[in-house]
Amino acid sequence: MKRKDFLKNFATLGLGLSFFSTLLSSCDKGSLLPDDLEVNFRGKVLIIGAGAAGMTAAYLLKRYGIDFEILEAAPTHGGRIKKLSGFVDFPIDLGGEWIHTDPKVMVDLIDDEEVSVDIDIITYNPQTFQVLRDGELRSRNFANQFYSEYKFKNTTWFDFFDQYMVPHIRDRIRYERPVVGIDYSGERVVVEDATGTFHEADKVLVTVPISILKQDLINFQPTLPTDKIEALATIDYPPILKVFMEFSERFYPDILIRDGLFEQNNLLYDAAFGKDSDHHVLGLFCIGEDARAYVDLESDEAVLERLLAELDAIYEGRASQTYRQGVVQNWSKEPYIRGSYSHFQEGYRSTIDTLIEPIDGKVYFAGEAMNPVGQTSTVHGAGESAYVAIEKLVQA
């Protein structure tokens, strides 16, 4: 089976698909673009959003010598990949953290034999598992027999893009330019940002999170086709937050799951697992209904307090006794993210096909929810989606 097909089959499983990720290392790998790609297009492209998809798209356009600009709403690039330095002695991934496939997917994304650097990877195979059910803590270490995936050792997903793609495209990123309108009714596309500036291009590639499209935060002229609007409505985009807490002692397992063992929607994990560090950092990854209890709290302090109280209840007060510092990343409150990542229903492949269909040969789409060749809802999937979009765009 080709890696592509395999990935497709498990695309909707979110974190759960990680059980299979190690299998993928044996599958075929290769360039994401055909060698004989015909580049016919010679105009200007505007890319909306500088997340994994937007940066990859820009990196490819630069390679093909096509004029482009990225309009990014936030003051920095990365989107849902974000790095926190200085918290402890290793960098923390506040967004995308795990590598849910064979890490060599990065070779495909960079696709440049000149970039001869080694990337250090941790085999993320936690050994101690606990499950909290009805207030009772149970050991479930047998999960270590089959759960395994990868993480960066000393770096992050953000570093990967920042070090190997951004240097090629940095001068073309326009920060703090939230796009509010895309008018594709004329010969050229006119894009308006929140500062009232208009930008013109021949084509536009939209890579914003689907929350932005679902909530109509960009005014398309003419409006988006009905089938796209209907397709967007079928995709769930639940709330999410991550919290990291440092303790002077370790009292927790490698993973503590607070819902079903195979759900992985509410997990606490040793964020220092496999890192060369003496610091004890516990991460919280909480998505969906469970996340609502935190994301709507009035402040980060309130989130930390709540989580400490919960940990104290589980571990007999040891959390507050050994607590040093904490940080909260509430993605649901980020104005240009507004949640987590796409959760598809049955028939997601046709939904993706509908979403990525270019409009009038002028408006193209990419992003984690729009990957027709691999996993959705992931960092590398977002990168792969950019390859698909650019392949179409440069040929037209």
């Binding site: 790998k29 070779v107 970039v115 990337i119 250090d120 990877i121 085999t123 050994q127 101690t128 027999q145």
Partner: protein, 195 residues
């Protein structure tokens, strides 16, 4: 192709033997062995029979052969491409077979030693994906086990079997865990039994 040839010769040789479907005193086994089916490995083993008796449970019922043996086994299996496991296992096995049938069933209590070597840290080159292992860790486990085996003689000298073993993995230095091991293989009865 080679594998088919190998099995073909095995089966042909088997049919040339006396038509008696019983375990020999020292059968040899070769099996696909894994911790859950997707983690591949191999196992070889033999059985040292130390007691055997026959009983007819009721009139007109076919006689049953009961057999006790000590079964040493050696196994190697991979997990997720980064864990290599070597295992030595000894089963105390109780086998029962109706003498006019080709099927048999075995229950076994066992004890094993497993050494696991895991690549915990590795690197790859961004230009071509070439990979280097940076750090390995070794873990040692003792595995008490409970197994059930089901087998079928396709010829007097050859039987196919599948075996399921439930085993806690106990370790002084690593986290205890447990697994269900699956084994599918064949046994070659190169000298037939006393009876």
């Amino acid at each position: 192709m080679k594998a088919y040839l190998f099995f073909g010769i095995f089966i042909l040789l088997g049919f040339s033997a006396r038509a008696q479907y019983r375990a020999s005193q020292l059968p040899l086994s070769l099996a696909y062995y894994g911790n859950i089916l997707i983690n591949p490995g191999v196992k070889i083993g033999t059985e040292w029979e130390f007691r055997q008796w026959e009983k007819t449970p009721a009139q007109n019922a076919s006689p049953r052969q009961h057999r006790l043996s000590l079964d040493p086994q050696l196994a190697f299996f991979q997990q997720g491409g980064h864990r290599s496991n070597f295992q030595f296992h000894l089963d105390l096995a109780y086998r029962i077979q109706k003498l006019d049938r080709r099927r048999y069933a075995t229950w076994a209590l066992g004890l094993g030693y497993l050494q696991q070597s895991q690549v915990v840290n590795w690197s790859f080159n961004l230009s071509d994906g070439s990979r280097q292992d940076v750090e390995r860790t070794r873990r040692h486990y003792v595995l008490p086990s409970l197994s059930y085996e089901w087998g079928f003689f396709s010829s007097p000298r050859l039987n196919w079997y599948s075996k399921f073993s439930f085993a806690p993995w106990l370790s002084a230095e690593a986290a205890n865990t447990l697994s269900l091991q699956v084994e599918i293989g064949l046994k070659w009865h190169w000298s037939t039994s006393k009876n």
